[in-house]
Subunit: 333 residues, 2 copies
Amino acid sequence: MPPIKPTLTDVARLAGVSEITVSRVVRGKGPIAEETRLRVRGAIEALGYVPNRAAGTLASSASLFIGVILPSMHNIVFPEVLRGIYEGLAGSPYQPLLGVSEYDRDKEQEILASLLAWQPMAIITAGSDHTDVTRRLLSESGVRVVELMDTEGDPVDLVVGFSHRQAGYDSGRHLIARGYRRIGYVGHDWAADRRARLRYEGLVAALADTGLSLAAEVHADGPSSVTGGTEMLPRLLAAAPDIDAAVFVNDDMAVGGYFHCLAAGIAVKKDLALFGFNGLDIGQAIPMPLSTVRSNRFEIGRIAAERIIAEPKRPAVTEVVNTGYEIIEGATA
Amino acid sequence: MPPIKPTLTDVARLAGVSEITVSRVVRGKGPIAEETRLRVRGAIEALGYVPNRAAGTLASSASLFIGVILPSMHNIVFPEVLRGIYEGLAGSPYQPLLGVSEYDRDKEQEILASLLAWQPMAIITAGSDHTDVTRRLLSESGVRVVELMDTEGDPVDLVVGFSHRQAGYDSGRHLIARGYRRIGYVGHDWAADRRARLRYEGLVAALADTGLSLAAEVHADGPSSVTGGTEMLPRLLAAAPDIDAAVFVNDDMAVGGYFHCLAAGIAVKKDLALFGFNGLDIGQAIPMPLSTVRSNRFEIGRIAAERIIAEPKRPAVTEVVNTGYEIIEGATA
DNA sequence: CGTTCTTATGACAGCGCTAACATAAACCCA
DNA sequence: TGGGTTTATGTTAGCGCTGTCATAAGAACG
């Protein structure tokens, strides 16, 4: 029942040409007479030929894979980066090969090793916080390496992102400029999420520059979530009832905080300002649009992909593409 | 600078064994003396050997890929399915190879063709609404085919999901049982999303069984989103001001509707009941947890992956695994 | 009309690995 | 002690494709 898969040879025989000619037609490479092309196409159709990329990869020692390592699929942030990557790759023959590290450096290393076994022509990884082995593998692979999201740290090849520390700093400046002085922080378990920590440090630095410090901070155990914000904001308020603003590690948590305010009858902005991070759809959809930072995630993915296509060989010098960010004024701070 | 990649032969030479022995050590297959294994492992370490899976795939004509085709990455629904797939595959040597069809049947077909070129050992696709060519390719591929989400339609091999029509029907029964009679519907552009349409049909059928019909319906243009719900609910109310319940195509839209009620001072449930679909985190995090249907998306992905591992060869008979669903009572209906 | 260039095609080797079959040594039990 | 079994390793022959170089037939040119 499973029909024996036709190979190039079968197509070539049927079309009355050599294998290499069929190969050229399939890949659209090299000069082919129109008449020959049609004959070959006909044979391909007739046999239902599907090329074997494993053989192609082996023969040319160049796969069409781009290895992608993302830290999480628990919220929409990295799926958006991935969409950007697919968008940037659209129309090209390249195919992403995805691994999810769950914010675990060792797992990232494992995934990288298994991705490299497919001879990818590039590796995209979200983050710059790698194990030594990971860095070595990336560096020695010789293929293009794009590190996404954060511009701090020492690039292997190309970096696409922005400074999370600076974004945190600017968030603090924004609040200070609007008169908030007693600022609390709601975070999550950031042992893994280095970028969250960088934003936090930026925020603290902004406060320090004005002679302030965080009034209080609380940290959820698990990954960030809306319910996490709903749970943690009351704890923050218990620790420091007189704060006038709460900064959240991201929009998920901030929206949860907003819901707590709704339920507890706290007047948002007037009694308590809320500030998030990421610029998620949900944050802008709540009745009072969230004050937050737009992080251009889709763009980051798209640019990474486009850069790889534009320059498939690793250049001699490293480069940093700053995609910037933008404070969204919102209505909550 | 890019060091020549060591091959099996290099490892074999250094370890003083034959290539096949190294291959066996790498794959953990066949009997290997502990001493030999250590020697080979040492050589692998020393050379930084990374196996070439393209060669392995070609030689064994069995890749470790599982082709996955999902319709969208625009909301968290399919990333959750994907997480389930990764979870189910954890610890196995299999690697998902993802394509995103954007709810486009022709694109699904293209993606399938390109995935098949990698000789996947299975294909997971979300949905049963394929082009004829897609169905033929799936069927003739000879590998395991899992169609996710919906149990209606004619399976190629394995189906994992539940009946969306029935879920829509039960949503209608739920509302009717609670005394709602003037029911409106907020949908989106479902030309592509067949499952949304099935739920709608189930809902209409439930109403018809009680001698009722939809009081009004509106459809957003684009894909579903929170802001879409915020925009469309007022239109529904304009079309039928006296409705006592609104059913939304999914939770994103329903949450948007909830926000509209907040902003417009509509007492949710008392003046207007809201009902969603999917059981997203955000729906349960709003101050009044959304009445909706839990669709077990993570489980669907996980079960699909586990089934493939448990039975990697396509069996003679088709099978349907019903993952069920669950009405979440919530506070909005 | 020979020379050079361009276009179209083919022959052949080999990419790096593994299936299948051999071989050899060690072990087992009556 | 000798056949049978198990364990450990090797030999050989490709898997299906593409890079490289070769070839042939026109076209272009002075």
